[in-house]
């Protein structure tokens, strides 16, 4: 997936410099979509982890009086 991200970005840069504008914008939109998708995959992946236990986001039910 990362290869596709860089391929579309390279295509966007090349088209922005030498090619038609529509191709540059289309490639850039594809690159942005792939990047956001990959970012969401990375942070929600069980291996890489969305969990950050040092950031408390829920009430701890084990606390006294909870």
């Amino acid at each position: 997936m990362m290869v596709a991200v860089f391929a579309t970005m390279l295509l966007a840069l090349l088209a922005g410099r030498y090619g038609p504008g529509w191709l540059a914008i289309l490639s850039l939109v594809a690159c942005f979509g792939l990047s956001v998708g990959l970012f969401l995959f990375e942070i929600y992946s069980p291996d890489y982890g969305f969990r950050m236990p040092w950031l408390q986001t829920r009430l701890d039910s084990n606390l006294p009086g909870a």
């Binding site: 290869v3 970005m9 840069l13 090349l14 922005g16 410099r17 942005f32 990047s35 956001v36």
Partner: protein
Amino acid sequence: MSAASLSRQLPALLNDLALLAMMLVLAAILTAAMTLQYAYGELPCPLCLLQRVAMFGVCFGIMLHFRRGYSVRNTGVSLLFALFLLIVSVRQTLLDIYPRPGHSYIGSTVLGLHMPVWSILIALAILLAFAIKLIVLGGGEHLRDARPLPVFHALAGLLSLYVIALCAINFVSVILQCGLGECHTFGYRLL
């Protein structure tokens, strides 16, 4: 150039100068990151690579300005990727701020800060620079109708080629590091 002509063209000149400076700084940062990768063997993690993509995206918006003339859309593209850079780098910094097995800052520090932390500062600097540029220069007709000075145009062309070359090198490097699968930092998959 008369004083009246100069005062009319000054906002456009300042706009071009600011954008050129931004692209130059981004190219320098990308070059430094690649130097760390190739000279010191510090392979980038997936989120680090996405941060590079975001910086290329900011450069894309600036390149379009020098290629096709001023448009608020070009600024929008750069701002979008600057925001993406900020989100990715903040997320990575929060992830690595508490070291644990498999999750710690990758690579050496530069002036005491790791690359994701630098990326936050870079993203904030880009957003701040665009905000100040828009406040001071605006986005009126005087920018839309102006043509860049030949020397700025030539410099921007050279810098654009350099950025494209950096992206091409990164593309080949990503193929070697990640293949068609996930990226890892312990070696080049295809070498």
